[in-house]
């Protein structure tokens, strides 16, 4: 028997430059330190049953990462949290853990959108950004090229808004994260003419398809 759990966590600046593959590895090691009975795949190279929802680009922070893991035993959430206590790398913080219903499609398939907050490391004109954002929203298509492939950015932008926080402009956007239709914040920033290293991008939310109402 296997039991599937869904864990939401944050990724702070200490894990900011840890790639998706290494995030996976860090969780594997965390679970092993916590002595949780993680399930392994069958076969020649057994792999721990851990899946991440949506890859976070290198250099992004996140307030809402999601991963599913499977255990060979049915443990209470409190018990799992107890196991993990003190075993977490300082770059992650657990928000919630829930048991999920089986069977379900993979987490990646369930992910439909991601929401980002963009802070600017250099001064930006609020007015100028507002006009540019509006232009993006008003357009029906924004043709771009990424790694030699032409695509339309506009339909991938589900929401885009400009706010003032601490007397500074902050951009918030929700981008599609469906299979083969993933919007990237850096592409939107490029449309606005802002270099990536002059921004701090935080994923605020990973949106899962409510059709798979997962919680038990």
């Amino acid at each position: 028997m296997r039991f599937r759990y869904r864990l939401a966590y944050t990724k702070n600046e200490l894990m900011r430059y840890t790639s998706n593959l290494d995030v996976h590895k860090s969780w594997e090691r965390t679970f092993r330190r916590a002595k949780l009975p993680i399930a392994y795949s069958q076969g020649y190279h057994p792999q721990p049953k851990i899946q991440l929802a949506c890859p976070l680009p290198l250099g992004f922070l996140s307030e809402d990462e999601i991963l599913d893991f499977e255990l060979n035993e049915n443990l209470d959430i409190d018990e799992i949290l107890n196991h993990l206590n003190g075993k977490m790398p300082p770059g992650f913080e657990i928000k919630t853990i829930n048991e999920t219903l089986e069977p379900q499609p993979s987490l990646q398939v369930q992910t439909i959108a991601t929401q980002y907050r963009i802070e600017f490391l250099e001064e930006q004109s609020f007015e100028k950004l507002q006009i540019q954002s509006q232009q993006i929203l008003d357009s029906t298509s924004i043709l771009r090229e990424r790694r030699g492939k032409k695509y339309d950015l506009r339909p991938l932008i589900e929401a885009l808004s400009l706010l003032e926080e601490d007397h500074k402009p902050t951009l918030r956007m929700t981008l599609s994260a469906r299979e083969s239709a993933t919007g990237r914040p850096e592409e939107v920033l490029d449309e606005l003419g802002i270099p990536l290293n002059k921004t701090r991008i935080t994923r605020e939310k990973t949106v899962l398809n409510p059709a798979f109402n997962a919680g038990k």
Binding site: L14, Y17, T18, D22, S26, P89, P90, G91, L121, L196
Partner: protein, 630 residues
């Protein structure tokens, strides 16, 4: 939301521009951050190579835990920034910082460098310079941190003598705390920096180079060493531990991929084989073993603390560990079948080694490694590593039979008096091994030959010999490359220019400091990396310094020559090394010294420690306790 410090704000804009920014972030599980303002003495441990290589260094890990276990001390880490990060730091005027507190290295009281190999010397200078610290020890007053180094390369500290205040010779576990405590005593004393250096020179195993002045003869060889005063010890003897007491338990778990992601545990230190080329085998004497119980308990605790998926059992010769069968069985019971890999390096060339590997259920994909080092009986007698060809072929056949498809064979070219025939024999032997593979498993069999080039090292029987010149090395390599091509065969070799660099620096004297500094000024960085060929820079640095590289490499030493490292004592006598050199010329083999003691000097040097640690954990004879004369 977190408040970012000024440095963090700067880094936030720089890190996206460099390769693998995770190298400069810290925050790994098991890294230790203490309250900076509450701690009296701050030490930065520095590994002058990139993070990817430095992180898993066992020496740094041991010292990091040792120092941080002391209430009044803290230890943080720094590594060499890669070329792109060095540029960014310079452009933005950011001093090199520690990973834990992100403090400039200048803010520490003591900087401890690990120098395991010579090709890190230029990197050490980069680190000092990026920290706004003068390179020369005599330009640094008491306002600057005390700068010390240790590690295998420092058994000849002379080429780097100008840059360091002191060298810590031998095993660092205890000496480092002695040095820090003496530093604290000095600090309360209000003495000048000279006072600190004198205090340090009185600690066993500490070499303060500014108290020694080498005098050279017109031909460039050493005439004598003069001492700053009467109190300076004539020889500095390395420090050793009577027992291998400290097992690191809380290995730092990196958040990014590094070269070795693993728990490393020394099962024994030292080697009794007496291969004449082997630096590690001479300087790490005596052999001391750790008990099976300690090893198992150590691994267990380290696994709990790290979650690592790999365990490496380290030693210079695993097969020689007394209870190897028991150890491997116990490891099988405790750790196999838990999705862990266990590696056991340096196995003897015998079928028994395959039994050991099978018990560890090591994946057969990586191949089976054997190190014959030489391919003719004559060469094997010269280097004192006797293995018969038949023994090698029998072992190879059995390896293929038991499921490995690749055998990795390590050889060295350039041993003293080696001829082109001896080199041709290496290619022949590789082919014979492959033929065994073909017979056993068919065309899937492979042989990977790794052929490095011998560099004569200080404190070894070959410290007197000349190095092959580049042309000879190239001829030998060309032969191997022509012979070892075709299906099933693969050859790796070392660029002779890199070998030369290692050879100059290994047996260099104090005058080489100028060459090192000039080469560094002209851009030599990361000399250990093939893709940073700094050879031309080094050649012009020799030119500018008025020194000849050949003097250091292409010259047999006089039998009574005073070496630049003459006053550094690894516990093994020069007379023993010379005897072994003579034996090599006479093609005389010497047995494993567990069988018979050849009086290398270790027991005389450390007789007190041996007396305090009787029994079989040492592989040297016991020292009889004599009744004290009344």
């Amino acid at each position: 939301m977190k408040n970012f410090s000024d440095l963090e704000k700067q880094l936030e804009q720089i890190l996206p521009l460099v390769e693998k920014p995770g190298r400069y972030v810290g925050g790994e599980y098991n890294s230790i951050i203490k309250d900076w303002d509450a701690i009296e003495t701050k030490i930065a441990l520095i590994f002058p190579d990139i993070y990817d290589l430095g992180l898993s260094n066992l020496g740094i890990q041991i010292l990091y835990e040792r120092i941080n276990a002391q209430e009044n001390m803290l230890a943080e880490r720094a590594y060499s920034p890669w070329i792109d990060m060095e540029e960014q730091l310079r452009e933005h005027n950011i001093p090199l910082f520690s990973l834990e507190s992100k403090r400039a290295l200048l803010d520490f009281d003591l900087l401890g460098f690990s120098l395991p190999y010579e090709t890190l010397y230029t990197n050490a200078l980069t680190i000092l310079n990026l920290s706004n610290i003068p390179l020369h020890a005599n330009e640094r007053g008491s306002d600057y941190p005390l700068i010390v180094a240790g590690g295998h390369a420092t058994y000849n500290p002379e080429p780097m003598a100008q840059f360091f205040d002191a060298f810590l010779l031998g095993e660092g576990e205890e000496i480092i705390l002695d040095v820090i405590n003496e530093y604290n005593n000095w600090r309360t004393s209000q003495e000048a920096k000279e006072g600190l250096l004198l205090r340090l020179s009185k600690i066993d195993g500490v070499y303060v180079p500014s108290l020694y002045h080498p005098i050279y003869q017109p031909d460039g060889t050493m005439q004598e060493i003069q001492y700053a005063n009467q109190q300076v010890p004539k020889n500095v003897t390395k420090r050793i531990l009577g027992k291998l007491a400290y097992i690191p338990k809380k290995f730092i778990v990196p958040s990014i991929g590094v070269v070795h992601n693993r728990i490393a545990i020394e099962i024994m230190r030292g080697c009794t084989r007496g291969c004449r080329f082997c630096h590690a085998g001479m300087i790490n004497r005596p052999v001391r073993e750790r008990s099976v119980e300690e090893i198992i308990a150590g691994i267990e605790e380290a696994l709990d603390n790290t979650g690592f998926e790999e365990i490496a059992l380290l030693s210079l010769s695993s097969s020689d560990y007394t209870n190897i069968v028991d150890l491997v069985d116990r490891i099988g019971e405790h750790f196999i079948g838990k999705n862990l890999t266990v590696s056991l390096p340096s196995l003897r060339i015998e079928t028994f080694s395959i039994d050991l590997m099978e018990k560890l259920k090591e994946s057969r994909q990586g191949g089976f490694t054997l190190a014959p080092e030489a391919a003719t009986d004559r060469m094997r007698k010269i280097i004192n590593k006797p293995i018969s060809e038949e023994q090698l072929l029998t072992t190879a056949r059995e390896i293929y039979k038991r499921g490995w498809l690749t055998i990795k064979l390590y050889f060295m070219i350039g041993h003293p008096s080696e001829t082109i025939e001896d080199v041709a024999a290496i290619a022949e032997l590789c082919k014979k091994v492959l033929a065994e593979g073909y017979k056993t498993v068919g065309k899937r069999a492979k042989v990977h030959a790794g052929v490095s080039t011998f560099v004569p090292k200080p404190h070894t029987p070959f410290q007197w010999v000349s190095c092959d010149d580049q042309q000879t090395i190239r001829e030998k390599q060309t032969l191997l490359r022509n012979e070892l091509r075709g299906p099933g065969l693969k050859l790796n070799w070392t660029d002779p220019r890199e070998t030369m660099l290692e050879a100059w620096l290994s047996r260099g004297d104090r005058r080489l400091a100028q060459v090192i500094e000039l080469a560094w000024q002209n851009g030599a960085r990361f000399d250990a990396w093939q893709d940073h060929q700094n050879y031309d820079i080094w050649m012009s640095a020799f030119d500018a310094a008025g020194l000849s590289p050949d003097f250091y490499t292409q010259r047999a030493r006089f039998s009574d020559e005073i070496f630049p490292w003459e006053h550094i004592n690894p516990g093994v006598n020069k007379s023993y090394l010379f005897e072994e050199y003579q034996n090599s010329l006479k093609l005389e083999l010497r047995n494993d010294c567990r069988e018979q003691c050849y009086a290398c000097g270790i027991i005389q040097t450390f007789k007190d420690i041996r007396q305090e640690n009787p029994g079989t954990s040492w592989k040297c004879p016991e020292v009889k306790i004599r009744a004290r004369a009344e």
